[in-house]
Amino acid sequence: MLFNTLHFGYFFILVAALFFALPRRQRWIFLLLCNFFYYFCFKAEYLILLIIAIGVSWWSALRIEEHGEREGGRRAWLVFSLVVNIGILLTFKYFNFFSRTIMDVSAALGGPLQVPLLKWVLPVGISFYTFSASSYVIDVFRRKLPAERHLGLYAAYVSFFPNIVSGPIERAPNLLPQFRKPLEFDGARVASGLRLMLWGFFKKLVVADRLAIYVNAVFNNPDPHSGATNLVASLFFTFQIYCDFSGYTDIAIGVARTLGFDLKKNFDRPYFSRSIPEFWRRWHISLSSWFRDYLYIPLGGSRVSVPRAYLNLFIVFFVSGMWHGANWTFLIWGGLHGLYAVSSKFTQRWRDRLAAALRIPAGLRRAFAVFFTFMLANFAWIYFRAADLATANLMVARILSADYGRLFIPAPDQFVYSLAAIAMLLAVDLLQEGRSLAHWLDARPLPLRWAIYLTVLVIILLIGIFNGSQFIYAQF
């Protein structure tokens, strides 16, 4: 039941209507049932894994708290919880990767080994709910948060349907207390949630899924295409992944908001970043901040020697690549971002000096930095999207070749829609530089607001793609 299907539309209307019709005390029970039903619709068997993740993390957190000052016991329960939850995640995501690697290496060494492969489909949202549950247990261990005694409320938090498939990865201190909050119906809030959902649907249906047509055609077979075509496909993918993922997030936050819950912001117009570290403060914010708090800082963060700080930074990005999946392409993607981030920090002072010496105007420098950062991200996305390393390398070779003569345009009108969709997206993102478009809209008279919403709906109906395609991040 993906967000971009009519089935989800019926589900959402029913949930929202019944949620507010029910007495406040029973709402969490209803929401929990909805969460489980929603997850059940993807693949019933994997509901068991979700229940295990919830049960183990909830129980472990209680035991950690019970052990009071006894550090050994506390640590044992933390390790138990992380081993079970992260272990399930690793098994599903990396078992086949390691098995294949062992087989490849052993074959290369002349003694081929046969290692069994699992034929399981990756459970939907496992990377997201595992990280939510793990962060909760770590926070209880760090005494930042009391353990939740109410299993039902905790289960509702981990399995919350708007964000279980692709985030944002919610931390317990933000979301869990909201399940206890008495929620009143607030029309303005619901309208604001619906508006965010509308924008999310625009990004997914009009931009991401339209660009996907061209992107898939080229990435699936880059060989016969020119450098220009490969470059355009990579640029299209850069916008596709942004709109696919941030579109999902907008819909998720919008759905939660209509029900009275606040989820954290996950994107902040990342392609206007001036450096890769800034890009990561604006892209998939909930994952970057998770890695910062639970990996980078425990590794010592920047409060260590300079080389060690660089290594820590690189490790975080490399692990981030691994989080996305068991494929060398993701590792290269993560590694590239690690290199970018380290180089950015390393060269920061020299670049500042050079800009000052050359008296480059601030605006020009900023524009160049935004463009350069965008192109770096674009280059790394080639590895992220390509089916394998050979395909990615082939695309890079094509792009770097001198063959810029022929641009593949299978249907000129469809190509124009793609460009128009990107232009509309950039215009809206640019309008939000330094101001909140939501606040601006709220201050407009109702007829103007409605006219804008109707225009967006008309655009979606006229040039949206309604094939109910998967969200890219649902596979992680």
Partner: protein, 325 residues
């Protein structure tokens, strides 16, 4: 503050009233704007698949040829018109098969009754060589005609969600606004009552019949498609239209699989009482000449010019027998 002093149920009521008003406006915009686009769409004639329907429906024709890309390339209306002294339209379309022909026939019969309907047959019209979903998926150009029950039924497959989508008049024009604008300003020139002059394109050994390309060596008949073919024939016969089934030449000899399907068509023609003009290359070896083809099953313009007089002569004999000329 009015909002905070009101009860939750009154707030919900107020919100629902607003939401209802907004949805009403959306419906009005969808209908109004949809009608405007519809108005311009109905005036377009030019285009291969996309606006050919309008051209066919714009005025009555005496003879209409339905079918796939083979029909599109093989039947030259100008030659047939000269021979038969009747107006002829070529309604064949690239990438379209029986379902499209049936939907288009229903639209046409709603507006006028021609004297003759020709259906150029492909083997896969009655087999499972291609899934129904794939075939229907290519028929989105018919979405503007979703108001017709037969078209709506085909496009939606009876599914509620698809029917709901097609309730939107704007959605019927999804991804077609620019091509519509281009078609509106382009006037027919290179086309001749639905026929496109493809010229003397060079032969390439590509594009066999879907049945020959399919992995299954046996013919698997599709009862649903057979029913649609029978409905195609019956709905014309009910209006006393002469239905003629036909089969045009190919660059290479037919496979046993296709031969078997042609026998099936023979039996079907007998059963339904319609004539079947089958002009196969085995009986007319000059059609093995590859200069007449652009690929294995599609003739080029030279081929069309060689085939059409032959077909028109056969049709003329039939019309004379039935005194329809």
């Amino acid at each position: 503050m009015a909002a905070s002093s009101s009860t939750p149920s009154s707030r919900i009521g107020r919100f629902l009233a607003r939401l209802f008003l907004f949805l009403l406006m959306l419906a009005a915009v969808d209908y109004g704007l949809g009608r405007v686009i519809d108005h311009f769409f109905r005036k377009t004639l030019y285009g291969e698949n996309w606006s050919k329907e309008n051209w066919l429906l714009s005025q009555p024709y005496d003879v209409v040829c339905f079918g796939s890309s083979r029909t599109f390339r093989h039947y030259i209306p100008a030659i047939m018109q000269d021979s038969l002294n009747l107006s002829v339209f070529n309604a064949g379309a690239n990438g379209q098969y029986l379902y499209y022909a049936y939907a288009l026939e229903q639209l046409m019969l709603e507006r006028y009754t021609p004297k003759v309907i020709v259906l150029d047959l492909l083997p896969n019209y009655v087999t499972t060589a291609e899934s129904k979903e794939e075939e229907i998926g290519r028929m989105s150009s018919m979405a503007p005609y979703a108001g017709h029950p037969a078209v709506a039924e085909l496009l939606t497959g009876g599914r509620f969600n698809e029917k709901l989508k097609l309730r939107s008049r704007l959605y019927r024009y999804n991804s077609r606004l620019l091509s519509l604008a281009a078609n509106y300003f382009n006037k027919p020139g290179a086309m001749d009552n639905g026929f496109v002059h493809v010229g003397k394109s060079k032969f390439r050994a590509l594009h066999g019949f879907p049945d020959d390309v399919a992995k299954d060596p046996k013919v698997v008949y599709d009862s649903e498609r057979i029913q649609v073919l029978k409905k195609f024939i019956r709905s014309a016969q009910e209006r006393e239209i002469l239905v003629v089934l036909s089969f045009s030449p190919t660059a290479t000899p037919l496979s046993p699989k296709v031969e078997e399907i042609l026998s099936f068509y023979d039996r079907l023609a007998l059963e339904t009482g319609v004539p079947f003009i089958s002009i196969v290359s085995a009986e007319h070896p000059r059609f093995y000449d590859k200069t007449l083809y652009s690929d294995l099953i599609h003739m080029n313009e030279l081929g069309g010019r060689a085939f059409t007089p032959l077909f028109a002569a056969e049709l003329k004999k039939l019309l004379a027998e039935r005194r329809l000329q």
